[in-house]
């Protein structure tokens, strides 16, 4: 099974509410939606980020938009001005999620 970056089949954007990072992820083509649903689970993301995201990660599905909202709590090192991180608002959390390596079956990508 080939391994690819999520970035190849998805796009999205990150925003913040306090220390919570909200990353929406959309399939670049409708047929990629089930791949994202299968491959990008909260458990996988939690393991991927490790102690960078300290709280739980919840996935919300919006199939009519072909996408998902990932809500990651205690993910920004305190959030806003409290965070010591360079990217205290998590503007780059969206692209960080896109770095996730996912497995696709032969023929799943068209």
């Amino acid at each position: 099974m080939p391994e690819i970056y999520l970035h190849e089949i998805a796009h999205g954007r990150s925003g913040d509410k306090g220390d919570t990072s909200n990353v929406c992820v959309f399939a670049r083509k409708p047929e990629y939606y089930p791949i994202i649903e299968r491959e990008v689970t909260p458990e996988k993301l939690k393991a991927f980020f490790g102690d960078m995201v300290k709280g739980p990660i919840t996935r919300y599905s919006v199939p009519s938009l072909g996408g998902f909202n990932f809500v990651m709590e205690h993910a920004l090192g305190g959030g806003a001005t409290m965070s010591l991180r360079l990217d205290s608002l998590g503007k780059s959390m969206g692209s960080a999620v896109m770095r996730l390596k996912i497995h696709v079956d032969e023929g799943e990508l068209t």
Binding site: H11, G12, R13, G15, D16, K17, G18, D19, T20, N22, C24, F26, R28, F48, F49, G50, D51, M52, T58, Y60, S61, V62, S64, L65, G66, G67, N69, V71, E73, G77, G78, G79, A80, T81, M82, L84, R85, L86, D87, K91, S92, G94, S95, A96, M98, R99, L100
Partner: protein, 455 residues
């Protein structure tokens, strides 16, 4: 069928006025709303106002939007709504009145909404038994009560609509919810009932798509940023609504893009649970929403549902948390990362020797992992090929003096540390760290009113 069009003019305090001015000059709109307030903006404004009572609002609305396009807006019957009032609504109204008088706009009507600032009422609310629980579950409100800069409720559309009803040319608010700035004129024009939750939800999502300005029209656009036309002249989005439709477009002759993907990226932005997007005006459910291309730079959004608004209002409470310093030193190939890392060790040993008591230290390497942290590529190859790398050390302490200890220790590393260290940007400053206390207040504890004065 009646159609109303509203534009988004600003995405935050400090945004470019170009798109707003262009939109006022060229677009077929009846309203424009300008959002200036992010989560901590009010705390910054409150702090400014402590030093200078004339400050505490976003003067940019007057000096950059009204000055360049306010007269045209009046001539073209485009009414403006903004939360630029921040912590000093009176100051903002005065500045607008001065501007209107200077322009000779006799009869110009300025609406203003008060009631969101409830800081003075905290003691009474505490006495009444409201505990301001931390929604993230940590600490007691009484521990921060004496360190609060501001305490404002996210209020809904009512006060703004009252001003529009009274014929205001411009409406000024403080912490009205971003999307309420847009909902108020839509409700006024389309005559929605206060409990027509589906329509209110559609109006809120129109506002949601506009409130971040350029982000709704091809800015910060991951899907295909390379092909966004004329990003240097990025237009901001415009929503057009009828009794039962919502379409998104932009002004003629400007850059940017309005398509399914650009709209979707903004649609779920900061929404958290899409079935329960909570606003002061309505609880929105977008789990059945769809976006369809209707033409060039035009999409239609359908399937937005609403439910009864909540009985509590979210509060924006900003308080003093402590202090921080951020120091940086740059290093070049070869072994840029290894040198930067070794330099960090040297600095932290020195800090330990002089007994710096930091509550938190965050070390990262710009060019390698300062953004993606744990998930950045720090493979041997990535490190070996690094052309350059900037060591960044951020220190947080509740004690200002502790934070300051690291400042004089950075620049000497140019001569005393690993080779090629370069110190730039001047000496670090100790910066105040403000924090947010996420909490709510009962809706009936907040008394909102909208009034209009005539120039």
């Amino acid at each position: 069928m009646k159609k109303v069009a509203i534009g988004g003019g600003q995405g935050f305090w400090g945004d470019s006025p170009d798109a707003a001015v262009h939109m006022i000059n060229t677009a077929d709109i009846q309203y424009m709303a300008c959002d200036y307030l992010a989560e901590l903006t009010l705390s910054i404004m409150a702090k400014q106002q402590l030093k200078d009572p004339k400050k505490g609002y976003a003067p940019d609305f007057v000096t950059r939007i009204l000055k360049d396009a306010g007269r045209t807006a009046k001539e073209r019957n485009i009414r403006l709504i903004t939360n630029a009032g921040g912590m000093n609504i009176q100051g903002c109204v005065d500045a607008i009145r001065d501007w209107a008088q200077g322009e000779g706009l006799k009869g110009y009507k300025i609406g203003y909404v008060t009631g969101d600032d409830i800081k003075a009422r905290i003691p009474q609310l505490l006495k009444d038994g409201w505990t301001f629980p931390n929604l993230d579950g940590e600490g007691e409100f009484t521990e921060i009560a004496d360190k609060i800069y501001n305490c404002n409720a996210y209020i809904g559309h009512e006060g703004i609509e009252a001003c529009i009803d009274q014929g205001a040319d411009t409406v000024i608010t403080g912490r009205a919810a971003d999307s309420a700035l847009f909902l108020a004129p839509l409700k006024h024009e389309l005559g929605w009932a206060a409990d027509d939750w589906d329509s209110l939800a559609r109006g809120i999502m129109a506002g949601h798509l506009l409130e971040c300005g350029g982000q709704g029209a091809g800015g910060n656009y991951m899907y295909d940023w390379r092909h966004v036309p004329r990003m240097d002249e990025l237009g901001f989005p415009i929503a057009e609504l009828t009794a039962d439709t919502l379409e998104l477009t932009k002004a003629p002759d400007c850059g940017g893009v309005i398509c399914e993907q650009s709209t979707k990226e903004q649609f779920l932005y900061e929404v958290l649970d899409p079935a329960n997007y909570i606003t002061p005006d309505v609880v929105v459910d977008v789990t059945g929403a769809a976006v369809r291309q209707q033409g060039e730079n035009r999409v239609r959004i359908e399937g937005i549902r609403g439910r009864r608004r909540p009985d509590t209002l979210k509060l924006c409470v900003g308080y003093h948390k402590g202090w921080k310093t951020v120091s940086m030193l740059s290093f070049a190939w070869p072994d840029a990362y290894e040198k930067a890392q070794y330099c960090a060790e040297v600095i932290m040993k020195k800090m330990a020797r002089i007994g710096m008591r930091a509550d938190d230290v965050h070390i990262s390497y710009i060019g390698l992992n300062s953004l993606h942290l744990n998930v950045a590529d720090t493979s041997e190859r990535a490190i070996r090929d690094l052309n350059e790398c900037v060591l960044r050390i951020a220190v947080f302490s509740r004690d200002k003096a502790e934070c300051a200890k690291i400042i004089p220790e950075i620049s000497p590393l140019q001569l005393n540390g690993p080779p090629g260290a370069s110190f730039f940007g001047g000496r670090a400053h100790v910066q105040e760290v403000m924090a947010l206390w996420p909490t709510t207040v009962p809706r009936d504890a907040v008394k909102v009113s909208g009034r209009v004065i005539e120039v």
